[in-house]
């Protein structure tokens, strides 16, 4: 595929956001794995789900199609791939900064560091409000599949943490 078209499509995909975290584009999230165009101008966007049951995936696939159609790409197919499995390591640095500004603590470690020791929590998670790292885990499961619930011991604010995956 010519780089110009591919670049154009990526520019369009930048306008598609995660419906559950609207400040992040699907590129920030690292969900888009590939963009393929065949010689009949059919476009295939390959995305990978964050969590198996993430309800945002169907909405994202729909939004991708709509945005591309708006921009004149009419033959669009969105396919899912599970391999390799999505990881928070693919989240862009820009995405992490946007998360923080939005009030969600970004994933702190690389995914292989998930702490399996019972009652252990990921350490030094920074409070997005006052930037203290004196925080505690309230629950490993938060408002969406990808988040845990933390609380700041200093400013007392509870906040979402985008957990390593």
């Amino acid at each position: 595929m010519s780089d110009v078209i591919k670049e154009h499509i990526y520019k369009i995909l930048e306008q598609v956001s995660d419906p559950e975290i609207p400040v992040l584009t699907i590129l920030d999230m690292g969900i888009v794995r590939d963009v393929i165009r065949d010689d009949q101008n059919n476009i295939e966007i390959i995305i990978t789900p964050t969590y198996s049951g993430c309800p945002a995936m169907d909405a994202i696939a729909f939004d991708i199609k709509m945005k591309l159609i708006e921009n004149g790409y009419t033959h669009v197919k969105v396919t899912y791939t599970l391999q390799p499995a999505w990881t928070t390591d693919w989240m862009s640095e820009e995405g992490k900064d946007k998360l923080k500004a939005y009030g969600i603590a970004p994933p702190q470690h690389i995914s292989s560091r998930i702490n399996k020791i019972l009652f252990a929590q990921e350490e030094n998670i920074e409070c997005p409000l006052c930037h203290s790292t004196n925080t505690k885990l309230l629950s490993e499961f938060g408002s969406t599949a990808c988040k845990a619930l933390y609380q700041c011991n200093d400013c007392k604010e509870p906040f979402d943490y985008f957990k390593c995956h």
């Binding site: 789900p49 969590y51 198996s52 049951g53 993430c54 309800p55 791939t81 599970l82 391999q83 390799p84 499995a85 999505w86 990881t87 995914s111 998930i114 399996k116 019972l118 009652f119 309230l138 629950s139 490993e140 499961f141 938060g142 408002s143 599949a145 619930l149 995956h165």
Partner: protein
């Protein structure tokens, strides 16, 4: 259809059914959890389970359509099969009981599925390996969460300890079939028993609980022979699709 693909399809369906039915059961806790954070936790786990079930059903549908030239979908497999076609582990269909029983079931189940998926990750089947790798990331959280709760309740108050003991008494007999292979089983489940027991015993020890000895083990789920509870779950879960075939959100 050759025997091998028949086995493969049945095996994938058995994994799909166990995760779907447990997901459906856990979903009953939605808005009924003991405290808000744990209500959110159990329903998040449920979402993971339903997602895993979808991956398995989609894969099973692809294979069935390839070899049998049918037109199955994830929905038709979940909503239009009968009770005797479901191959889920019996433990997944049991009523939730109290919080202790729900926690313990999750602990038994997730600890087992983690071992199953670790085997499947090494399998020749690429799609199965991909689903397994994805699922393991999620199940690690389920195992950790349920282990912690078993310890919290077992080593908690007299009341919570007794509830945990009652849960063990109610559920232990349904763990035997984990390790008895069905004819379609693609991995050596019997070989996972020791590792599973090791994990259970380690957590039980910290929880001041013990593993029952020499109990009768109920089997049947993997071969479609279910407790009376599955029929009721299916009636509720399938009624909409059976009343309005093809209905979509």
């Amino acid at each position: 259809m050759n025997k091998l693909s028949n086995y493969q399809i049945n095996y994938i369906l058995s994994l799909a059914d166990s995760t779907l039915i447990l997901g459906q059961r856990n979903g009953e806790w939605c808005a009924h959890g003991p405290i808000l954070e744990q209500d959110i936790a159990i329903t998040n786990i449920t979402l993971d389970l339903i997602g895993q079930a979808r991956n398995f059903y989609q894969y099973a549908a692809t294979l069935i359509n390839e070899v049998e030239h049918k037109n199955e979908t994830e929905d038709s497999l979940a909503y239009l099969r009968n009770e005797r076609d479901f191959k889920n582990l019996l433990i997944s269909e049991l009523p939730n009981g109290d919080w202790a029983q729900t926690i313990l079931r999750q602990f038994f189940f997730s600890s087992f599925m983690l071992l199953v998926f670790e085997e499947l990750e090494k399998a020749n089947d690429e799609q199965m390996a991909a689903i397994a790798t994805k699922s393991i990331k999620e199940i690690n959280y389920h195992v950790k969460w349920s282990s912690e709760w078993v310890i919290r309740l077992g080593d908690g108050t007299e009341e919570s300890h007794n509830r945990m003991k009652n849960a063990i008494e109610a559920l232990w007999m349904y763990t035997g079939e984990f390790f008895i292979p069905a004819d379609y089983e693609m991995i050596d489940v019997a070989s996972l028993k020791e590792k599973w027991l090791e994990k259970i015993k380690a957590v039980f020890e910290e929880a001041t609980l013990s593993v029952p000895e020499n109990t009768f083990m109920q089997t049947g789920g993997k071969n479609g022979i279910h407790t009376e509870h599955l029929g009721y779950i299916l009636a509720e879960m399938q009624s909409l699709q059976r009343t309005y075939p093809g209905a979509e959100w």
